[in-house]
């Protein structure tokens, strides 16, 4: 990728993760947390921040170690590095925000199994220098954070009539939106919406490429 040419376009690396390869809306990876924890904005944002942190740190670590990891055992090594950083995040969150942690502690630990983090470690960080790897991690993490924020904002607004715990709409909320079934509705509709924007405004004549 970028490292071979010597010149690295950091802006492109970061926006790639947010728009072109958005973990949830484009790659449809890591859908479990995007449905399970996004029933209110606070949980969604905190989950996104946790993933952003883990993704960046894992990318940096793997990039640092990329020359000494034997290719045959690279996946176990990646997993160990990821679980190390997840444990750090898990314990920090348990200490810093105990009441939120009570609700979503399980899902923080599940970050270990996120396909998106392992995929970036394998596809990008293990082949690139530290700075591009960090930029890639930041892009992917922000993309994930953005997706979770949008999903949880709409789910909380429609399902509970509030934003970040503060009541805004006073009509009867659609209770289903904060239940798991509503998560599927929200993810599906937003995914369709962002794909529509992509086709409509960014890729003129995209269908001709495929």
């Amino acid at each position: 990728m970028a490292a071979q040419t010597g010149k690295v376009n950091y802006i492109e690396l970061i926006t790639n993760g947010i728009i072109k390869e958005n973990t949830i809306f484009k790659l449809a990876l890591s859908l479990c947390p995007s449905i399970a924890v996004t029933n209110n904005l606070k949980n969604g944002v905190l989950m996104g921040v946790a993933v952003l942190f883990v993704q960046v740190m894992v990318n940096i670590t793997i990039s640092l170690m990329r020359k000494i990891i034997h290719p045959r055992i690279r996946l176990p090594i990646f997993m160990l590095v990821i679980s190390g950083w997840v444990t750090i995040t898990d314990m920090s969150m348990a200490a810093a925000v105990p009441d939120v942690y009570k609700q979503m502690g399980l899902y923080i630990q599940l970050i270990v199994a996120f396909a998106s983090i392992l995929a970036r470690a394998e596809m990008f960080a293990s082949k690139n220098r530290i700075a591009p790897s960090m930029a890639d991690g930041i892009g992917m993490g922000i993309g994930f954070l953005f997706a979770l924020t949008v999903i949880s904002f709409f789910r909380e607004l429609i399902g509970k009539g509030s934003v970040w715990g503060m009541p805004i709409v006073h009509t009867k909320p659609l209770l289903i939106m904060i239940l798991p079934a509503g998560g599927f509705f929200a993810v599906g509709i937003l995914m369709a919406f962002f794909n529509w924007i992509d086709v409509k405004f960014f890729k003129k004549g995209a269908s001709a490429h495929h």
Partner: protein, 339 residues
């Protein structure tokens, strides 16, 4: 040359080539018509408000489809009757006293999310009207379970609320049901005529049966699903429905109450979402009956027809594959490979 070609374009399609009078819209409008008696009975027992609720549901469904298809520049198909049927069935499945925004939300979910987002008529996995109702029941659990007491006086305005027969059966048992309705004969007649609390279009067994006989006579539905559905439910109700002892339940009460008849004749038989092979349809009906009784007797809700049909809807493609008819003269692949 090119123009001549265009004019004489012959379309060769897969057999059968026999043309029939029956079209999708003709069948759909007949099904709509067959529901008329049930609507009339609903209007008689629950008053003008019930009619308005059904009307709003239909208008919202038709408008949702029209606006969605216009917005996506697809062919507008609101006149084929299928979206009218969706709105009608959804309205008939609502309690008579719901606020008027409820049928609007339900119709939108039914038509746009369940039907159009999956590709329109013929491509939806689930019955749209039932998904609309399930969405409403989960979103507004209180509003969707307020049952108005039926009254024969058409303009009876002081509405009283009461429990449905199934609700009484679930919460307080058979003894209480007998106490409310008097004796057994009275209970059966009231259920048969439809003088009981429930959704707008589901209460009157006689009206639903008239519509069902019409559909069976015209051949628009076959007996396979309704008979296996109702038969399974009746057998399970008879064996396990009683308190304490086996074979002590009352199958007639179970068949006539709730949405059993409406579901078995008009919703489980939806062409799009039920299996198309006859043997498969019997299995589909047995599954519906079993799940309905499982929810009614052991589940948290007093009524289970809706969830039973929706759950069986997702098995339809699998059932169709399992009961695929053998192609005449076809040889099994595995043998060839072995040789």
């Amino acid at each position: 040359m090119a123009e001549a070609k265009k004019e004489h374009q012959l379309i060769v399609s897969v057999s059968p080539h026999i043309k029939s009078e029956e079209t999708t819209s003709r069948i759909m409008w007949s099904v709509n018509a067959s529901l008329l008696p049930a609507i009339v009975m609903g209007a008689y027992f629950f008053g003008p408000r019930a009619v308005i609720t059904v009307a709003i549901s239909i208008i919202a469904a038709v408008l949702s489809e029209y606006i969605f298809q216009k917005a996506l520049k697809r062919k507008v198909t609101v006149t084929d009757g299928s979206v009218f049927l969706t709105g009608l069935l959804l309205g008939m499945n609502l309690p008579p006293s719901v606020p008027f925004y409820i049928p609007i939300i339900g119709s939108f979910v039914a038509v746009v999310i369940t039907k159009q987002l999956f590709g329109g008529l013929g491509f939806n996995v689930f019955n749209p009207a039932l998904i609309g109702r399930a969405f409403l029941l989960i979103s507004f659990p209180r509003l969707m379970t307020i049952w108005k007491e039926p009254s024969a006086a058409f303009l009876h305005l002081d509405a009283k609320t009461t429990a449905t027969p199934l609700g009484i059966l679930k919460e307080e048992g058979v003894a209480k049901l007998m106490e409310v309705f008097g004796d057994k004969i009275n209970l059966y007649t009231q259920l048969f005529v439809g003088h009981r609390a429930g959704s707008i279009g589901e209460t009157s067994a006689i009206a639903l049966l008239i519509g069902a006989v019409f559909l069976l006579y015209r051949g628009y539905i076959s007996w396979h699903i309704p008979v296996s559905f109702l038969g399974t439910a009746a057998i399970i109700a008879w064996i396990f429905g009683g308190k304490g002892a086996l074979f002590a339940g009352d199958p007639i009460v179970h068949l006539l109450s709730g949405g059993m008849l409406l579901g078995a004749f008009f919703m489980a038989t939806d062409y799009v979402t039920c299996p198309s092979v006859k043997k498969g349809q019997i299995l589909f009906g047995i599954g519906c009956g079993f799940l309905t009784m499982l929810i009614r007797l052991k589940g948290g809700y007093p009524e289970g027809v809706m969830f039973a049909i929706l759950i069986m809807n997702c098995f339809s493609p699998l059932i169709d594959r399992g009961f695929k008819t053998k192609v005449f003269g076809a040889i099994k692949r595995t043998k060839e490979i072995k040789k």
